[in-house]
Symmetry: C2
Subunit: 604 residues, 2 copies
Amino acid sequence: MNYYVCLHQEGISSISKLIQKAHANNYNVVATSINANMLPMDPFETDPTYPATVLNAVDWNSKVIFTVSDVDVDSPNAKLREYSKAMLLRDITWAEHLQNNGSLMVRLRGPKNDNLAEIIKTRTKGNWFIHVPITNPEVATFEHRKDATEKDIEEAQQVDPWSWWNELRFAVKHNGKVKVVLELSDSDRPSRETVRRWLGEPIEAIIIPSSLFVLNRSNYYVLHKEWQAIVGHFISVRANIIVSTNANDNAISQYAEYVKKLINDHCDTHTLNNYENMLEIPLQPLCDNLDTYTYEIFETDPVKYKLYQEAIQQVLQDRVSDDEAKRKLTVIMVLGGGRGPLARAVFNAAEITKRKVRVYIIEKNPSAIRTLSNMVKTLWSKKDVHIFSKDMRDFSPPELADVLVSELLGSFGDNELSPECLDGALKLLKSNGISIPCKSTSYINPLMSAVLHNNVCQLTSTVPAFNCGYVVLLKNIYHIDQPQALFEFTHPNRAKDIDNTRHKQLSFTAQKDCVLHGIGGYFDTVLYKNIILSINPLTHTQGMFSWFPMFFPTQPRTIKAGEKISIKFWRCVDPEKVWYEWQVCEPAECERHNVGGMGYNMRL
Amino acid sequence: MNYYVCLHQEGISSISKLIQKAHANNYNVVATSINANMLPMDPFETDPTYPATVLNAVDWNSKVIFTVSDVDVDSPNAKLREYSKAMLLRDITWAEHLQNNGSLMVRLRGPKNDNLAEIIKTRTKGNWFIHVPITNPEVATFEHRKDATEKDIEEAQQVDPWSWWNELRFAVKHNGKVKVVLELSDSDRPSRETVRRWLGEPIEAIIIPSSLFVLNRSNYYVLHKEWQAIVGHFISVRANIIVSTNANDNAISQYAEYVKKLINDHCDTHTLNNYENMLEIPLQPLCDNLDTYTYEIFETDPVKYKLYQEAIQQVLQDRVSDDEAKRKLTVIMVLGGGRGPLARAVFNAAEITKRKVRVYIIEKNPSAIRTLSNMVKTLWSKKDVHIFSKDMRDFSPPELADVLVSELLGSFGDNELSPECLDGALKLLKSNGISIPCKSTSYINPLMSAVLHNNVCQLTSTVPAFNCGYVVLLKNIYHIDQPQALFEFTHPNRAKDIDNTRHKQLSFTAQKDCVLHGIGGYFDTVLYKNIILSINPLTHTQGMFSWFPMFFPTQPRTIKAGEKISIKFWRCVDPEKVWYEWQVCEPAECERHNVGGMGYNMRL
């Protein structure tokens, strides 16, 4: 992953020299005032601070974050306000001239930012970095003030700079080019929950003031352990690092070195990082045939098929005693054989337990059948194995099965239609036969994620994006509350009248003020007895990556700490399709999404 | 630029071995039958030819071009036709399974391809490569046939495989995923015009049959000079190379080496290659302010300002004799000073000719003024130079100018509103004053370019794309006929009633059957006397890259050789804006584009 480490210094005399100094000390970006060396400046001053030719266009775009004049465009003083607006607009004009895709940083100084929001919306090129203190900077000042009462301090601690950002974010209409740069402060360490909430925001970078660094025993500048952990959390959601210091600091090279080490330690280097926060349309393996690329990804999961194999071993041992092992045959049907990973698990389990198995592989994808047939001819030529190119619901077996093995599970458990498929395959099973898996449960919880919200908005021009469920590797999110169980399905389902529709309402509580952007979806499944696969964040099976969670978007809504969030969820079924509907009904009744499966449904 | 060199062999026994062999011999892609080693095969045969696991998914996508079964889905024989369709659909299913973004190649065998077109449209993943012979393959057979009469040969030579492709292209509705792979033939070298026309098509690659290679005196396989030139033309429009040979050919390594040398020799390595065929919205420097990035590109043109400087030198020498040089002052106004390149040309010219100049720089962009002011303070502190932050139309000069110097020219000469701006600046000029440039002329011609047409179509969801003019570095185009002069403007224009509207109809003739996709636009301008800047392809100033041509799209229309193409063009003016309208009115009257400036206009 490419992180940048940025040197922030003000009051410098030459931007190009600052870049040289930064490079020499292992920084690849600088942040400094757009009015280098000329503050304060009259807004109507036409005299230049420096010419555009100091750097070339590529460097202006890639190596410099501009900080704007520190003026208050929302001042209650009308004259000051107008002056500030003129200054800021002048800075924007100059920034747009120098950078066609660069970054302009502006500091929030309090809760009122309506004028700033209006001005932010006027700029069409490049990104806005909104500089926000992670905790109320006023708290820090009490250290030096003897007049402050306990009550003053308590009140100041109630002020939440996140809400400054939150209001600005709504005022700029969730513009994806407006991101957060979060400043840490040596005088006030944020709580764990405060940090976790910021991880749901579009964090461009964090600012580490040089005062946060302390000398360790070997005379190196380092961060305290608690700060290391906090910075590490931000690094893990791809936040860049800005080190802020004064122009005479001699330790800048040490800071950079240390920060790079932290990045190395905390950067999440899994191979699927291209998928982070990417919204994907869920697969529909029942109506679409999977391709090589998809099979290949699934087959490389290092954990899933191992657990399947363990489940099959236990089943074989439970159903066939050691004494019977040599003569008693267990008939196993693999429903949805793909390119053979479940069949391989069955053969391995049989070999390890020394049980006799006959395997029927049912697969409806004729292209996968080609590969399976080849495997039967080569790898499995001595096995008792039989391939059928069929939909399991239409399959007439030569004999009934002791065990059905399938992996028809999607990210939400039942969203690849395992209930409907396995119900249709019930006729293949002996009356005492069992299914692996035997139960699956879906889970949901409310999420804050400005990044996912923006990604959904970008789809709205082409699809009914707020009526779709997505599969997504969740990265920049805040779990507003823990997941709770939603729907459950057991297999085999021998009920007389099978009803796979479901409805449930669940209630969650917000621990902090936040924004609800949507609902996370997960599942776990019992393969056999205590062998479980789970993508529920509370119980996630270690190392398994076959399924990313789901995300069901809602329109963004600010939630207050302590408020109850009630969510209604439906699983609907008609003769052609299955679909979900979802609705937030507390703290206020909101729209019901995907009514009638208009945006997203699974075809039977 | 990344070209691939592909080895095409049929009748091979193992795709993975073919890839190994290709790699070992310097090829990075292979082309071979999707049914490796199993032809002919029954369409309902379920037995596999090879499993999907022979290669991984990335290799299937990036290293293999599949050729489909050589069947005729448009055969007049109904049984054969149905059999062929089943075979082709089976191949497509298998290809879609193996490649999610790969390439499937199908050979055209004649003019009738309606069924093929329907089948092509059913495939949703990856590209189609349409394999077309560059000349009628029947001609080649006459070499071995004694019964062929002169008339037979002549008739066969009339058959034009381009028309097979052209009809297919219309039948698949100009789908951008359908591209041409063109096969050369050792028995029939195409004419220059045939080659040139193919350059306007979306050429993915050319196939060089091994029989085209000949041994030179040093015993190396090479191409004849004429074939080198033909292959070179295709390389210059980014066509990849497929070498087609049989499985026992021992010279494949030599072919690859030679082809790579050809690519090296003919590949166009200019630094602007990212802009090839890219449609850009023309700049509007009058109503928008240019940014650093744009100024920087213009300033790096190695030719333009040199010619300006020469023009100014001649003007200075013509207006001030050597005797007068020490005392006679020439007042020069630079209209639109940008970041100073024209002013620099003036100072250089004055120094070289030893003439006295006073320079007024008028510039309306306040950000450019910052840089200019700095230049005046530093570089030009001893010059007689004065900066005015003004629109030239509103500028009241302290004195009148001998010479106006400007570069308000767009790709079409007048499309950055030089007529309107220079008319407005007439009041700045002495009665005997002159303007550099003093004349500009626009040119148009009819173009075939399937690539540009597809790029226009991709914009239609967001803008009225067929009513816009674009600036584009033309690459994959065919000039249907040579450019002709359209509109002319002279400066200064001292006419009493200035009329900058224009209208003209021009007629062109197609030399070959082709498709009209739009109109190319160019200009030349006389700076002074015989010093000219031109982007007219017939007279293009060597090495100058400041202006790309324009492209005015029309709906695609097949034109027959010898047909007349008449184009009407208008320059319209109202108090707020200037715009062009264009219409093809022969061989058939087509729609008039951009009526009222609805899609594209220049704001005054």
